[in-house]
Amino acid sequence: MITPLPAEFLWVVLIASSALIVGSLAALLLQRTRRHARARRREALDAQLRPLVLEATVAEGDEIDDVLERVRALARVEREHIGRTAYQMLRDITGEAATNLRAVADAAGLVPRVVADTRSRDAVIRADAAEALGLLAPEGALERLRELARDPSPEVRTVAVRALGGFDDDAAVRSIVAALAADSGVPATVATTALLQQGWAAGDRVRLALEDEDPSVRRGAARVAGILQAPGSAERLVALVDDPLESVRIAAMRSLERVPSRDAVGPLVRAALEGGVLGEAAATTLLAMPGAWTREAIARIDHEAEPGVRRAAGLRRKEAAA
């Protein structure tokens, strides 16, 4: 009979595992019971308070003051629920109804808490606060968000920059453009999306950013210039088709699809003949331009470019054409 190692060890593992299994089962039941109970509590509060929030969205003139008065008179738990409900609905609507909802959230006491949260030591709470500042837009939100756009945590900076997109203001645009920089820690898509949300207000800054020293700023600006139809940007975009960095070149090409310029044709043909993703982007842009400008260019691509670029230029297979 063999027992090479002490069976005690196995017994310890067995007993510990069994205890943990029982503990896990208890945890499962507890979690589920508590979650369901919480859901029920919320439902009850919802049935009672939701009509009030909805009423606020359609209130006209002085009616809103009446609603706000009623919100202020509620107990704390109820106010918190109202704050949450209004906050969620703010994601869905704009205009006057949204203004009313913001007032409701304010009356429910949400704003001071959010402002206090922007100073939290926990980056996740600061990021949530930045998101809330953007939606609630209380007085002073713009300044605070611009501060958060320089927060030590990239996560907070990202949320703040995204929120700044909703503020029609040159200072907001400046913060967003600064976030295009390579070392900002803010994803380029977030900063460029925020710029797009600014629309025309961003036009001038975007044109300037096209000449920035930082290639990431140039790339971001090049990406949005076309969609924004930023006035006077076509000339700079044409220059960027020959930028030292490939991703900047591609961004400029995609923008030129929307702000066509005849001067771009020459550089685009050269890029198309380089092939690859760059060549395809160049060919696609050429195809989007008026045929009268690009006839020779397309003919050259037909003769000299690789098949992928020819496809992007809408050219037929050689054997199919024959």
Partner: protein, 488 residues
Amino acid sequence: MSWDWLREALTTFFAVTMWPTGIYFLLANTAMLVLIVIAARHFSRYLRRSEHRGEDAMAGSPVSLGVSVIMPAYNEEAVIRTSVRSVLDLRYPDHEVIVVNDGSADATMQVLKDAYGLVLDDRDVPGRIPVRGTIRGIWRAPDGAVPLTVVDKENSGRSDSVNVGLDLASKDLVVMVDADSILEPDSLLSVSKPFADDPERVVATGGVVRIVNNSRVQGGRIVDVRMPKQTIARIQVVEYLRAFLLGRTAWSDLGALILISGAFGMFRRDVLIDVGGLDPDSIGEDFELVMRIQKWIKEGKRDLRVEFVAEPVSWTECPSTVKVLARQRRRWHRGLWEVLWGYRAMLLNPKYGKVGMVALPYYWLFELFAPLVEIAGIILVPLGLLLGVVDPAFAILLIVVSYVYGTLVTLAAVVVEESSFHRYERWSDLGATLWAVIAENFGYRQLTAIWRLQGWWAGLTNQKQVWGEMTRAGFSEEADEPTGTPAR
């Protein structure tokens, strides 16, 4: 007297093998438990951030990276219309769909032509990826209708079909999906997010594949999530939870993800073309691809990453009969073996960082060899008892400990799911899940171990002969099985 030498030999044999076997089970389960803890930490961080993740802002942004969705289709006339519709309808600002009809013998092609009024697309073909199946024709939806391309080609298997689609893709990112998968409306958004957040470094991402059996599906979308009815499918739900959701999350967190499910993987198009697309000869082609990408990253000393997104992206029908499950597991394990063997040079090679030093040893030791050890235990322990060379009390203790500890690990996975995503909300679902956790130990584990060994054996013995046949036959049988994803 004359039999004493045999007794002696067996006693020595058991003395040598029994303890390593016990320790192996403890180690394998402990490793899984560590992965679950890592995943749990990841989830709690991830979920804390759900308030400010900003997916809605990206969903509407025209600067999002474009995505080409590649969908190979073989004899899918019944579902192709709904599948294409549901992919076109995915919430994403800029995506195109490329269907590759892999020489279907049914009306797949005609259904698409009728539904979209396809017109011939005779533009040049890039030809950057070598493909085998001859293209009969490329079609597209008429201008301005929908971003849909349909390639009609001779049958050449799933991988080759994906490569054909890849060659024609025009967006920055590509994702491959199966025609019979159900996609989450936000799947493209969730899986592309790592690319948007870190465009310079992320080259591939995968999402969670879940089991659709018994859930209510309408128009190609899940409308009500339910636990499957059969025990065999319920066990797979728990298995998927443990291995795919938690296991892969943990590997991704460790920076050593080597497997993305072929049912929904997203890649940077330029990288996928650089590495040459899918290997049409590989059985575990999705595993093989990610291994190749990891090798390419490490050998080129590139600062690039493969990431897993914990959001569910796609739902797939899991085998609900023993026969189909057996076939699937044989194929998975054979794929696992062939890829691990093919990339054996990376094993324990510090040049390949955590992939070589952590992930691959884990896959070799606790995935590839697991069925061997399991079966050895099943055979040797009763044999030892029968011959009276093993202490019965001790043997039983060893077995009980292994199984109880294994159950604990699976249960931990269920607890993590419960505290994070809790997709199965009914009390009866919880009961069914717990039942599956227990039931897995009785029969299921042992049977899958046998099938996995068979698959391994098939890989070791008759590789060459079955190649062409396997890819083709495997694909035509695909209707009732999920895609070729090796285990765990």
